[in-house]
């Protein structure tokens, strides 16, 4: 793989470059969509670290996304914090939620882990509803435009938002690339492949899984915090089960255990819904059929299959 270092770096930097160029080419609607997709794909990248690389099939990642969203939203809109520190608090919120859940849930594995993480996420969702007078529950609240300024950059402005989303996306993408190619990243993959054998080699599975989950929660929190500031809305829907399933689908579609897969999956799924909903009310069926086709013909997702068949060096 080291022999392809140039190609790997070139590919990932190329994707970032193409995304930057697309701002000047695409119509306004798609520019705004891409900003959303880039922010949400950071959530998917986070999920991919836990699921794709560490082998932790979580059904509770909405909690980490919502932790970032609500930490930032609460501090900025309700406590009057500036957006910059609010954003950092949101990122920390996602990581801390993952740490707390991980310390308890990682005592389990497999199906039990799925159930425990799902339970934690549901508890988080109900907590948001419980504190309705503060959170406005399912209805949610708006973050004022005046409060959505980070380091002098007004995130309600289309151009600023696009490049802020791109910066976050690029940072997350390169961090993921660095992580999965680092010794720690290789141990995470070892945990996915065979935790017992890794333990025999002297690596503590609990510790490494916790590292994977916290890194995953950090990215999910960053995505949630950025989404709140960029699009100005904080609501309990983002903590619901749907937002635990979505990153799983994005990652499965794009290719679990590939660095670019989560972005590709988020992109394809977004446009699958967007285009099919203009044609039919059964747009979720279209998504379902696409996933069925994936299971039948490309089990490892789009980039996973590509890696298997043509590009074995793809990280």
């Amino acid at each position: 793989m080291t022999g392809h270092r140039g190609a790997i770096l070139g590919l990932h930097l190329g994707v970032i470059g193409v995304l930057a160029a697309l701002y000047f080419v695409l119509p306004a609607y798609h520019v705004s969509n891409l900003a959303r997709i880039m922010v949400l794909s950071v959530f998917a990248m986070g999920y991919n670290i836990a699921f794709g690389y560490t082998g932790l099939l979580s059904l509770g990642h909405a909690l980490f996304f919502a932790s970032g969203l609500y930490a930032t939203g609460t501090l900025v809109q309700l406590a009057g914090w500036p957006a910059g520190p609010g954003l950092l608090a949101g990122i920390a919120g996602g990581a801390l939620a993952a740490l707390a859940v991980g310390l308890l849930a990682l005592r389990t594995t497999g199906v039990a882990f799925m159930i425990v993480t799902l339970m934690f996420a549901q508890a988080g969702y109900l907590l948001i509803l419980y504190f309705g007078p503060l959170t406005r529950g399912d209805e949610g609240y708006v973050i004022d435009r005046a409060s959505r300024v980070v380091a002098g950059l007004d995130l309600s402005d289309d151009r600023t938002r696009y490049f802020a989303a791109l910066a976050l996306f690029a940072l997350a993408l390169l961090a993921c690339l660095a992580l999965v190619r680092s010794p720690t990243g290789r141990v995470l993959v070892a945990m996915r492949e065979n935790a017992e054998r890794s333990r025999m080699l002297g690596y503590d599975p609990f510790r490494y899984r916790l590292i994977g989950l916290v890194a995953s929660g950090l990215l999910a929190g960053a995505s949630g915090a950025a989404y709140g500031l960029m699009f100005g809305y904080v609501g309990a829907t983002f903590a619901s089960i749907q937002y635990s399933i979505l990153p799983l689908l994005w990652v499965l579609l794009g290719g679990a255990g590939t660095v670019l897969g989560p972005f590709l999956g988020t992109l394809v799924m977004f446009y699958l819904v967007d285009l099919s909903s203009s044609v039919t009310t059964a747009h979720l069926m279209v998504v379902g059929l696409a996933l069925l086709a994936l299971v039948l013909f490309a089990r490892k997702g789009l980039l996973g299959s590509l890696r298997e068949r043509a590009l074995p060096w793809l990280p």
Binding site: P27, A28, Y29, S32, N33, R36, L126, L129, Y130, G132, P133, R136, G137, D138, E139, G140, Y141, V142, I143, R145, S156, D158, F231, G232, Y233, G235, A236, T237, F238, V273, D274, S277, S278, T281, H283, L284
Partner: protein, 431 residues
């Protein structure tokens, strides 16, 4: 001394050139008015943010039909400013994230002049910031208090339906005077329920009544049996409001709880029974109970000609069901808002001399300047008063009693009953 030009007979070539140039000019002159004509007769495009799927789908189906019927009437009468009108419907899945994306799609890709139609509060609150950023008029049909509370923005208006704060305030005096002063409230444990809890509690206290117990039902609840014993025996009125199919279980279990014995008066919001046949099986316990209705589902004696016109145009029978299928009950209490909002858009655009997106600000200002909305074909639910400062309209509310499976109106509030002090002045905010 200047030379005097000598007039010469034009050559054949010159004549041909002149004819060609003249013909070209004439052609151009002919084409230009055609271009102007094309500009001014281009359809006005309105986006409709539709709950076609998701929890709001029952409402969405009828909101679409109502908007289509209103569009037909509008275009038959010459459209807006003489221009035909098109509506682009786009499903938001009753999801706030998708809602914001749909506003974006309608505004940028659909090139719509304005967007309207959203009902569910979370979709409205989730979409309003994006509408504000895109500087597109966003007219909601939601009955939530969000617009009038000041959390939205200058581009967001609710000119087609009264908000919940006004609704409960208007009805509390009648409830206190006719049903009882000691109220137990059963409501969903989320924002929609809190609006009822807070506004009705305050309104009852103003009438010398009191809320003796608040029973918040978690949204994940499937049975209410364990909550019903919390209803105090001193309760004179049981106030219930719920969203979704849970109400069927609630009513059935309430019937089992009280059996054939005495029970408090029951007052509910029709929201939970919209699109549900009130004479259907399992709902017998509702006989003799009272409901709020924004617009009476069953045709009432002495209904206005505008009411009968509206009912026929949308295709609803005297019982509030589809004329083509009596089992398909409409969301009659709310869906008039889609109709009336479309005609407010027409009035606003005509007042503003609306030509295109550059006039969006003038359009919003024209709506802000509106006050009286008389009972008419455009406003079949009744006359209304619009408050341009809070972007909220105020109308009449109806209290109906279930009698032999029909909803009979027993009281109609005045507009003044529902007025409250302004909480925001959007007209002072920048666009």
């Amino acid at each position: 001394m200047k030379d005097i030009p000598i007039t010469r007979t034009p050559s054949r070539r010159g004549l041909l050139k002149g004819i060609a140039a003249g013909t070209g000019t004439l052609a151009a002159a002919g084409a230009f008015p055609g271009f102007i004509q094309a500009q001014s007769s281009e359809p006005i495009r309105l986006g409709f943010q539709l709950h076609r799927t998701g929890i709001g789908a029952a409402y969405g189906r009828w909101y679409e039909r109502t908007a289509q019927a209103a569009l037909q009437v509008l275009n038959d009468a010459g459209g807006i400013n003489g221009r035909p009108v098109e509506i682009l419907f786009e499903d938001d899945g009753t999801d706030p994230k998708r809602g914001a994306e749909v506003v974006e799609k309608l505004a940028t890709q659909g090139r719509c002049d304005a967007v309207f139609g959203a009902l569910f509060s979370n979709v409205v609150v989730g979409s309003a910031p994006r509408a504000g950023e895109l500087r597109i008029p966003y007219l909601v049909c939601s009955e939530g208090h969000h617009v009038a509370s000041g959390i939205t923005n200058r581009w967001t208006l609710q000119p087609g339906i009264t908000d919940v704060k006004s609704q409960v305030q208007a009805m509390a005096p009648w409830v206190a005077a006719n049903l009882g002063k000691k109220v137990t409230m059963v409501f969903p444990d989320y924002a929609f329920g809190y609006d009822h809890r807070d506004f009705f509690t305050a309104a009852m206290e103003a009438q010398g009544g009191e809320v003796v117990e608040l029973i918040a039902i978690p949204p994940t609840e499937t049975s209410f049996t364990r909550h019903l014993p919390r209803i105090p025996s001193e309760t004179e009125v049981l106030y219930h409001v719920m969203v979704g199919p849970a109400v069927l279980t609630f009513v059935k279990e309430l019937g089992e709880f009280y059996g054939t014995g005495d029970h408090p008066e029951i007052f509910g919001f029709i929201d939970s029974l919209e699109a549900v046949d009130i004479a259907g099986p399992g709902l017998e316990f509702l006989e003799g109970t009272h409901f709020w209705e924004g617009h009476p589902r069953c045709l009432q004696p002495g209904a206005s000609e505008h009411e009968t016109f509206y009912r026929a145009a949308v295709g609803v029978d005297d019982n509030g069901a589809s004329v083509s299928d009596a089992r398909e009950v409409s969301t009659y209490a709310h869906m008039f808002s889609a109709w009336e909002t479309l005609f407010v858009i027409k009035a606003g655009m005509e007042a503003a001399g609306y030509q295109g997106p550059d006039d969006r600000q003038a359009f919003v200002e024209a709506i802000e300047a509106m006050t009286e909305m008389p009972l008419s074909r455009e406003h079949p639910q009744g006359d209304k008063v619009f408050n341009g400062r809070t972007h909220q309209v105020f109308g009449h509310q109806h209290i109906s009693k279930v009698a032999e499976g029909r909803l009979e109106v027993v009281h109609t509030t005045s507009i003044e009953d529902g007025l409250y002090p302004d909480e925001v002045d959007y007209t002072t905010q920048p666009f």
